[in-house]
Symmetry: D2
């Protein structure tokens, strides 16, 4: 930190659990945020290339969402109503039906799960088991689906799995994600295991897949591979579940990251940017024929965060009434790709990862990635790593980021890469 | 419904999953709420004796919380900051330290888990397993700890457990709660199982217990029994975890439902009314020596809901700076007890359940309980059942409910009981 | 050992695994055995009150079985035929049908499992799960059903369970055996758990019970209690499985230990004395309607030990063609009871355990029991302990033991008890 | 059957469980057997190419074993002694030490498990978990390790796994066996999964592998692949367990099927031909430093079948005192390979499988394999199939089979193949 006086963080070290994490990478105290800028207690501004891990696709504190939420609170709109019917839930569901489902020819029931991604995932695997009468779920290497026991069993990361303290993480088979082992699509292997009656793999209830693995290192699956997974699922009587929590809601361009791929998932999870404003909110989209839940069979106190209904509706109306936002995202994604391609060229052996506005550079080691991110933070850019070895520097800017701010942030990244790799001539540009 | 025109609920039946539940008991559309009153789309007002299942202990839309939250939003305060340091989190932690922990001589680290009760429970059992190197968790009959797979394994309810669709609910031993089988404290049985080296019970990592079981039927444990459970846990090298999600935060009078009982839990879960205003928020309180989490070992996108930090801090400052609120709650609890005792007298074989402002009547059957609640709703009172057979009519009014409104709500309940049981002479009073 | 030259046991300590056990209590090398007498390498004779843990109910090397087996081997009778049809298997099955099933009005299919008790138990629980579509098995405190993972999950003993090294021992609920906690029949508790829809107990596929728990301390269940267990099983759609491995085949008098109790088990396990001569042999008796196995769905190399078919047939014909043997056993059992009652009177706080010729004395501590057994061995009697704390000195003499030998063995026991407890005046008798 | 009067098998269909299997393929009643010949009740002789699934490597009723066993029985040698020290056990252990371990420079403790292969496997995985403190075991596709729950979890076959009736088959990861998916050694894949910290695979306690998969289709692993598996196990802190139950004890030539491969397994299982005469007998060989069992931590009534000690000792002394038997086996194996190569040439797309005297032909379909075996039986040859689809006709002749009988059996097989495939010109030879 170059600031004269470091922010006082003693209350956190004294009272907050050792489990805290991001705060360790960004050792200051933030006080406000707007659009793509976060401001700390000393008034220093940071460009946000983390965006709540894709929870802030529309940026911080969108003025229209703020205004609608303040209005809602001011008029004593429901803040908490369990899962009772409310006007705001109705308005949200209507917007979701009219702006998202209908235009895409999709027919799904919306299950308001607890307002966290992991809760939507847990609901999905429970329902898949109920629907099929089978127990085994296929998840993929490098997958991240959450930290509660059901989702953790699906998660690939060893360090995360050890958090279970030895509790059973059963009923899951992990399969290699596309290109996980180099230049192959892995479908052949998966098919061989499924078709071999002596493979030791029990019949799957479902396949659950992230179209772009976020925590796993920005691994983007191709349409062909995802189609192959769906085809194998159908052939073997299993459901096909898309976990679009980090990759969806515009992050790769379209609302769902798999639009145009010819897929027909049985369930789709929604969270992170689902509320529009970063409020806790999650849902499970379910093909109507699979919606065999009994009332309250999966319940929860905070399912259907009412404040989130308000902001989520605004987000849908503001950004998804036509295709302008999606086009704008794809335009920025092209710019991002070009810049990252240049930056990546500085790092021998590096590789561009991801898709749309969910991109990053595999810099080859967690040490280098961490060094780059630390230099960026010094220079006013919030950016993080992902991947099995934390080896990917990932850019998850708000989709609404102004071009100039985006460029400025990428310039900081470029300079940090130069400095970290010793290519100072480039850093001088 | 006696209203001229029923609220339009077609969007919900068309688009919301069959898992929805409370809305089925209260078939109208709510639009606003304040204090103890909810108002529907036709302007009809209902007294709220459900209070978000104890998530609204301070009532709906407390004006001071509203004002602080609006101010926070207006000034672009952080809405979502992952688990970065923010001024609002600092202010919340300081208030929690100064107003809750210090005055009670308690020393706990605060783990911001995903903002749902089940996430706090999952974190607790994962950590207990890590700390002890054991897998088995002791939970109690009629326990309810959540719907994600780890918490669901702890939960007693068969219908809820069947939601797992056959997924493994392992590593848990269920023991009888106090008086579960009639007039005995059950500690003797539990001790016998623990001490018998051939009982088939594997050494426990922890005991997790709700001091007053909410969903399980308002079963209130005595101080002696809870002390006994803690003593057995200590003797057998297990942690002692209090799940105070529904019973805590003033519901039984003091902030923690176990204050004054001489207990020293290793962990305490917090959720429901923790944010003060019904916003999603949860935490796990951990004795510092047990806080062995590695950074991010249990993480989550929404841990530390920033809006909730704002309202939770206001709640602490407003209601817990002195003992006035607690005294007021105990006063109301006495009134509630008196009224429920009278009402219970109408129902042969019924029994008063619960403690503090978490009370109810076991009316003997789910059918009668359901009939009573339906009659209440017709008359403008929102009230629900709990218990293994949904046989308990429970009163979970906001603690801030004005005396007159409280009386009016109880009058409605009394009349409904009379009508349902045919004691019309009483109903006529 | 008082013998001049101890037997050479170095080969065992050098080459046999530390898991070896009985040899540690009886540190000599045995060379031959006949009836109730074992002889060691120095020619010393020992009365055998262990009888292969009830595997030698007819004594060692019964001359008729020997002769039939020698004849079979001499004529190149099949020694190993997998599960092919053989004349000896046919003869055995016919004898079992004619002498055991028909006279008792029982109709069971015989499943030749691997020739160990644990294999029969594993087959039983697998089949119960297949038949009911449920996973949970109810086993009892102090139960012992075997060491393979499925049976071990049923077993109560902690030291044995720790042998699993942390492998999952799931899908089992342990319930208290009759009088396990003192003077109650425990059925009330079991029923309460089953009937309480919030007990956390998943619907059981089966109850498996030993009528007299052998390893668990010679706990003999009453007819009333076993009827109660069967009634609860039926009421809740679960199968009722009798594990008669140690208690059956005449040990308590009748062939099955539950004869005359009005029970109708769905399955019965057979092993230990099933071959008559101590050869490995086991079977699962299955009510025909439950015999839904597909061919080879549970197979094994040694199922149907052909040598055992030969000796088992002889045993059936010799001992079960009429009721003489059963009557003789009951006569000896009465004598045993009288003698043990007297011996028990020497030990304050001791209690008589078991039933029939499966009796013992709970002497109050493992130390005392161990001391008594060591003194017995010095005096020429092989006798062992059982129970959760190894606190029961158990008498499992061959049922064929001559009266004089039986009396002599009991005299040794009586003296050992006197010496161990310091009651020398009694020892002098 | 071409016999005038079929054998009476009604007792079996009336009383033996539907689980019975081999008897369905060989619908006659056998009465005696000697060497490589089995004789049925009508006096018809069959050449035995099944040999108890490799349990009769020395043929039926070896005269020296018979004689020693008859002598033992005649002199009242111990038939059942639990795991007490006996002269016969000592003699067996000394022979095993002197003839097997010492000449091969091997140092192992011998654990007498229950006398079935599955019990030895269960002991191995329990011990591996105890030694490493880890739970996960790596087993391979097409593996067969037994039918009890622990071994069944390791087994690849779906039909067998379904026998568990839904009981948990947890704590196992299945990996592809060498060439399982065609022309690759699969080590690269296994290594990638182990080294990827986000693969979702938990650290393994052990790898367990059959050097030649018997039930899985006679898949023979190369020395290089097995070395690779051991290397990966060592690198990742896991034990390396060889399951040599079907492949060992001379079946591929040397006593252990992996001799000369430069392997150093932590444990080796022994069963099937271990007793020499087909009697139930099994053991687990344990590297001394891993022998951390507590006394009786894994016990069993029939561990150490005393009759088997007698015959097993004779087998060791007769066949393993020098290398003559091994050489003779390899000579026969060469002849077998030549003949099967010729026979295989008749079947388009067929492939030779296995190693040593554990060979077979993958004929491409279970239907054809079954047809061939049925024709062989008609012609007086007992032969069976294996493989995931029962597509391999396997030759498991006694190693002691006389050349002329071996040739005659192979002639029958050749004719049956010709007839089944319509190549009558060859059948006419």
């Amino acid at each position: 930190m170059t600031t004269a006086k470091a922010a006082d963080t003693t209350i956190f070290t004294r009272r907050e659990s050792e489990a805290r994490s991001y705060c360790r990478s960004f050792p200051t105290v933030f006080t406000k945020a707007s659009g793509a800028i976060m401001t700390d207690v000393q008034g220093r501004e940071y460009i946000d290339f983390l965006a709540g891990c894709s929870s802030l696709n529309y940026g911080h504190n969108d003025p229209d969402m703020k205004s609608a939420l303040i209005d809602h609170i001011s008029r004593d709109g429901i803040a908490h109503g369990l899962d009772m019917y409310t006007d705001t839930k109705a308005a949200f569901l209507e917007a979701f039906e009219n702006l998202i489902l209908r235009p895409r020819g999709m027919d799904y029931k919306v299950m308001m799960t607890g307002p966290t991604g992991t809760n939507a995932v847990e609901a999905a695997i429970k329902l898949a088991r109920k629907v099929t009468g089978r127990r085994n779920i296929v998840a993929f290497t490098n997958a991240f689906h959450g930290m509660t026991m059901g989702s953790l069993a699906l998660t690939g990361n060893t360090a995360k799995r050890e958090g279970a303290g030895g509790g059973s993480l059963a009923d899951v088979t992990h399969m290699p994600f596309e290109n996980a082992m180099g230049d192959n699509n892995t479908l052949e292997y998966i098919e061989w295991v499924l078709e071999n009656p002596s493979s030791g793999m029990d019949d799957p209830a479902a396949f659950i897949v992230e179209p772009v693995q976020g925590e796993g290192g920005l691994n983007a699956a191709s349409a062909e591979w995802l189609q192959g997974v769906e085809r194998l699922a159908r052939k073997h009587g299993a459901l096909f579940i898309i976990d679009d929590i980090q990759s969806g809601i515009g992050r790769t361009g379209p609302y769902f990251s798999t639009e145009g791929m010819g897929l027909n998932p049985d369930m789709i999870t929604q969270a992170k940017s689902f509320s529009g404003m970063g409020l806790p909110f999650a849902a499970l989209l379910i093909r109507p024929d699979h919606d065999i839940w009994k009332p309250a069979e999966h319940n929860g106190t905070f399912r259907g965060n009412t404040h989130a209904f308000v902001t989520a509706r605004v987000a849908l109306e503001k950004f998804w009434s036509d295709d302008a936002f999606q086009k704008e995202t794809l335009r920025k994604a092209k710019y991002l790709e070009d810049r990252l391609t240049e930056i990546s060229a500085q790092i021998p052996g590096s590789a561009l990862k991801g898709r749309g506005m969910m991109r990053g550079i595999d810099v080859g080691s967690g040490e280098l990635a961490s060094d780059i991110c630390a230099r960026c933070f010094e220079a006013g850019l919030i950016i993080e790593t992902s991947g099995a070895h934390d080896e990917v520097v990932k850019v998850l800017a708000p989709l609404t980021i102004p071009d100039a701010v985006f460029a400025k942030g990428l310039n900081i990244l470029e300079s940090a890469v130069s400095a970290a790799t010793g290519n100072n001539q480039i850093a001088a540009e």
